[in-house]
């Protein structure tokens, strides 16, 4: 394994971001492509929209398990599924 920084500093944030993004797409328990990972000082914030509260919890659980030392917060929403209140007219 290649260390890009001093031992103890952890992998550079960009690799963590890339790994989280791939983890969320490729892990069978999640398979979400629409989650964005944003760096905020020393923490990572997850943004996006999912289809159920269960999936939001799964994403947080997976990321915290894989990166126990990285503080992660989530701002993931569950997409509304109400009937529309407006129509669009297309001539």
């Amino acid at each position: 394994m290649t260390h890009h920084r001093d031992i103890g500093a952890g992998p550079p944030d960009e690799y963590v971001e890339a790994e989280i993004q791939r983890l969320l797409v490729e892990d069978p328990a999640v398979a979400e492509q629409g989650i964005t990972v944003v760096r905020r000082e020393r923490a990572l914030v997850l943004y996006g929209e999912v289809e159920s509260p269960h999936r939001r919890e799964e994403i947080l659980r997976l990321v915290s398990e894989r990166f126990p030392d990285v503080p992660v917060t989530s701002d993931i929403g569950v997409i509304r599924a109400q009937a529309p209140t407006e129509i669009e007219q297309l001539p």
Binding site: E51, A81, A83, P84, I87, Q89, L90, P91
Partner: protein, 258 residues
């Protein structure tokens, strides 16, 4: 003649989502002649997830027509997925079309999943390594089949249904770097090769709702994370009251059926 089209894509169903859409779907007969599903019905394309789709979108009082998305291919169970959907009365299109008799006329729908490749001036070319050629030829074949299906339908109104986007307009909000994985201009070219009235797609979860092909066909991205409601409803027709017509760029008008 007005045909009422409800559409949603990227519902990514599994057991944890079953039942969330159903109350809104029960209202469909009052507001739409057909429901179009723009692919990514499941998370991984398993037969079990397809059964969730059949439960949620089967047995509705309006016809349901779908294409598959990339997620529906993930587990290589496409034949099983298609069978479960068809057994539930859902029409699955891939390079073909269907004509439905609606109150406002005969609605023709042609569908393909489509594929990536990018858009004019910034797209992949059929050149170089075999992997690259295979990628671009997948797109071209898909677009050719969509064009042929659109041109073959005998109907009063023509709609194109894809998972991947035919235009870059409806991708606005997605990172530019991934546009070639979200759609291809060849799909737009296919749509413009026929008198298409509306093109509906999904796949771009962070995109925007409205766009137009170079030939002037309206394009709508109906991915669930984009529309943020159970489905969108479009009234497509040529004899609308002028006060009902919403100009492009406005979000629509009040529902007229309630």
């Amino acid at each position: 003649m007005v045909i009422r089209i409800a559409a949603v894509g990227d519902v990514h169903l599994d057991e944890d989502v079953v039942g969330r859409f159903r109350p809104a779907l029960e209202e469909l007969p009052e507001c739409a002649d057909v429901l179009l599903l723009a692919g990514d019905l499941t998370r991984h394309g398993t037969e079990a997830e397809a059964r969730c789709v059949a439960e949620e979108f089967g047995g509705l009082a309006v016809p349901v027509v779908t294409v598959l998305g990339n997620h529906d291919h993930q587990c290589d169970q496409v034949p099983q997925v298609v069978k479960v959907l068809e057994d539930a009365g859902i029409t699955v299109l891939e390079g073909n079309g269907v004509v439905l008799d609606c109150a406002g006329g005969r609605l023709g729908i042609a569908g393909v999943k489509g594929f990536g490749g990018g858009f004019a001036g910034r797209c992949a070319s059929d050149f170089g390594e075999p992997e690259m050629k295979a990628f671009v030829r997948t797109t071209t074949d898909s677009a050719d089949r969509l064009g042929a299906a659109l041109r073959s339908l005998d109907c009063d109104m023509l709609v194109a249904l894809t998972h991947y986007s035919p235009v870059p307009d409806t991708l606005a909000g997605e990172p530019l770097e991934i546009y070639p994985f979200l759609g291809s201009y060849q799909l737009g070219q296919a749509i413009d090769s026929a008198p298409t009235a509306l093109a509906v797609h999904g796949h771009a979860h962070a995109g925007t709702e409205r766009g137009t092909t170079p030939g002037g066909v309206r394009v709508r991205n109906v991915a669930h994370p984009v529309i943020k409601q159970a489905y969108s409803v479009f009234h497509v027709g040529d004899q609308l009251d002028t006060d009902q017509v919403s100009p492009i760029g406005q979000s629509g008008s009040q529902r007229s059926w309630s």
